[in-house]
Symmetry: C2
Subunit: 196 residues, 2 copies
Amino acid sequence: MSDADEGTAQMTRSKRADARRNEKTLLDAAAAVFVASGVEAPVRDIAAKAGVGMGTIYRHFPTRADLIIAVYQHQVDACAEAGPALLARSDSPHAALGQWINLFVDFLVTKHGLAAVLRSDNAAFNALHTSFLDRLVPVCAVLMEAAEAAGEIQPGLGALELMHAVGNLCIGAEKNPNYNARRLVRILIAGLKEPH
Amino acid sequence: MSDADEGTAQMTRSKRADARRNEKTLLDAAAAVFVASGVEAPVRDIAAKAGVGMGTIYRHFPTRADLIIAVYQHQVDACAEAGPALLARSDSPHAALGQWINLFVDFLVTKHGLAAVLRSDNAAFNALHTSFLDRLVPVCAVLMEAAEAAGEIQPGLGALELMHAVGNLCIGAEKNPNYNARRLVRILIAGLKEPH
DNA sequence: TAACGATACGGAGCAATGTTCCGCTTGGCA
DNA sequence: TGCCAAGCGGAACATTGCTCCGTATCGTTA
């Protein structure tokens, strides 16, 4: 119970070659299945696609959340890193916030069911929730503070709360062509300007 | 206020006494379990609470959605009926819309998990989705049209879309004290005023 | 009131899916 | 080459939605 280095990158050397190979195979298979069937695809499907057994998948990724995190981690990082860049490049913090939120929305709506699973109360997905939001909330907070300081949005709303709201608005967007999550998020962000 | 009809109206007379008794028992048990464990509580729990078998529950309510619909139908009706009343009483259609949406939000956030299940893509919950929204969307449309006609909100957003958005914003509200669905919905409605 | 057919009931059982367990295989080192 | 811990596969278990069917009950009719 004290194997320290799972999940995080560095100590790759200590892994057996076949294990490293399988981890890569699994990530690729998971990414493919997520695109085809959404992030709620049965674990068995992913194992089958990768050509490995159930045991293998769970040894590498103890819960499905860990697998999802691993698959999308770099996209989340990219989104997080874009925040300060947008703020620096824009003369209106409110506009920068809007653009950054758009990046987040684009990320969510192109991943079948990811927004829904982010909101799931299933304890297994708690790690996912935590991992993604820990990375993004501080970025959102910086943007919001800048917009508040510029007097462009009303204060009082937390960054986590806003991220939750945006995530919620994205639920179901990918499977309902009459539901335009981007527009609704835009309306929400516009509403931040109004005194409330 | 009595045994009028259930689901498919008229032929109530033809039901056996024990069947009618069980239906009432089931509705009461379901309401209690929904409050205690949320609307996603296992069907077995409801059957156990009511002291009946699985077969009985499914004969009366072919899917879980039918049971949920039956439990909350009159609250949905009350909400729908409040729409025109609010519009008549208020001098600002936008304010009336806001108040009516608040009623809907209040309904959702006091029902554990109902908002989430409304959004579920599970085919079994389609009936629920349809039943509730068929009742409420026309009411919402009337309010929105009035507000548009008064120039108080921007046109272009469908009533169904708005209802979806509001429902989404309510997801998870009951189990996260730091997430204030009412405020976020208010911000969204405020955003409708802004040109977008 | 007794018998009988339609109606309703109970719960075992099936299918899908997440997760664990354990005996077998294999990579990498001595 | 031989050893053994790391790793693997997949059967098995648990949960949960839903179905099926033998049995019990209701209500009518003789």
